[in-house]
């Protein structure tokens, strides 16, 4: 890995320009980001997840998530034969350091990454008493850290268990879809580090986004569809036993 001095002189300015763009401020000021051109979603391919926990670690580092709380986590399922209503599930420390060797052999086993579900009809925003959690015009559910009272009603209302109260700020916290990254042309931290491409960020308003083709040619599922949250976190290969 030998970078010659000459090469550095050429590459550094290019990198500096790219970096400056990355560090650009608010979405309104960011050169090319228009909220109305985006409707963010996520595609998770269960058949590719290897349960390495890289996504959990990356999210914690990128978003300064306190220990013991999770904006994303990985679950491991073990299903004996046809007993779909009685799966054995575990998630040691959210899957942050991978999973220990399973004791069960046989049956059906797989990993399921979980995260905030990007609900378009979000129950948590419905119950927030002051408007501290909201859906942005580009489809991301965010929490206003300066306005949240910490009443915890939103945590109770989330059917997926993806919200928590940050003990340092005493306010509600959840996956922000790395809003500070996606508005600058980067992808989310979890998608960036996923080694198998099990996680894919998608912009439903971009006609060239590969998700449209994928949704048309594959059977996809969302978690708890009967609760009609219009979740935009699409799973491919989600077994019916997944809670």
């Amino acid at each position: 890995m030998n970078i010659t001095r000459r090469r550095m002189l050429v590459l550094l300015p290019a990198a500096a320009v790219a970096w400056k763009y990355v560090l650009a401020g608010t979405p309104e000021a960011s050169p090319n980001y228009q909220m109305t051109e985006h409707w963010w979603a996520m595609l998770i391919d269960i058949t590719k997840c290897i349960g390495c926990g890289s996504c959990v670690r990356a999210c914690q580092l990128e978003n300064h998530v306190p220990d013991g709380y999770f904006r994303t986590w990985v679950e491991r399922y073990h299903i004996e034969d046809w007993e779909m209503e009685y799966p054995k599930v575990d998630s040691p420390d959210g899957g942050k350091n991978g999973f220990p060797v399973a004791k069960e052999t046989g049956g059906k086993n797989f990993f399921v990454p979980k995260m905030r579900n990007q609900c378009a009809d979000s129950p948590c925003t419905q119950v927030c008493p002051v408007g501290a959690t909201f859906v942005t015009p580009d489809g991301v559910v965010l929490v206003d850290q300066k306005y949240c009272l910490g009443c915890r009603y939103c945590v109770q209302a989330c059917p997926y268990g993806c919200r928590f109260i940050n003990p340092k700020t005493e306010t509600a916290n959840k996956c922000t879809l790395c809003y500070h990254r996606i508005t600058k042309g980067l992808t989310t931290a979890c998608c960036e580090v996923c080694p198998t491409g099990a996680r894919q960020l998608a912009n439903l308003k971009d006609p060239k986004d590969p998700i449209h083709e994928f949704l048309q040619t594959h059977s996809v599922q969302v978690l708890k569809p009967y609760l009609a949250t219009r979740s935009k976190c699409f799973y491919y290969g989600l077994d019916g036993a997944v809670r």
């Binding site: 890995m1 030998n2 970078i3 550095m8 590459l11 550094l12 990198a15 790219a18 970096w19 990355v22 560090l23 401020g25 608010t26 979405p27 960011s30 909220m35 590719k48 290897i50 349960g51 390495c52 926990g53 890289s54 990356a58 580092l61 990128e62 399922y77 073990h78 350091n97 991978g98 999973f99 060797v101 399973a102 069960e104 052999t105 086993n109 797989f110 990993f111 408007g131 959690t133 909201f134 859906v135 942005t136 015009p137 965010l142 206003d144 850290q145 300066k146 809003y179 500070h180 990254r181 508005t183 600058k184 980067l186 992808t187 931290a189 960036e192 580090v193 996923c194 080694p195 198998t196």
Partner: protein
Amino acid sequence: MKAFKDTGHLFRVAAVFLAGFIAFLVLRSLLVPHSFGRYGHYRADAIGEIAALPISYAGHQTCETCHSEVVDVKNKGVHKGVACESCHGPQAKHADDPGSVVPDKLDTSMLCPRCHQTNVAKPKSFPQVDAAEHSGGAACNTCHQPHTPAIGAGGSQ
């Protein structure tokens, strides 16, 4: 005004309530944040505040602007789709100041098994080994070059 005789006290109560209501309206106009309600029932400035948060992972495109020979090596192997920071961790600080912020040296015996240790829940087609059996305790990069891990493909480091 016979109907209103002896009702003076009721008007006083009404006046107290009215004063309270007006005080509430005044307080409201003073205390509600200005950007509230611009896009919906929330403080619109919060969107900007959240978007301005600092970044820890630089993103593989940024790495590739300087380290293009690594990219060339990687693209020939099966780790083509694995982002740089997947193994090297968050490197935004390094990208910001490549001279003084140097990434840590990685320990492959800890790093590689996280993905490649055999686990019944992993997809069958994914390359998995039992680390202890496979290498007898030797570090993975003794035989494998992480950027192009197939034996004999790019040569060991």
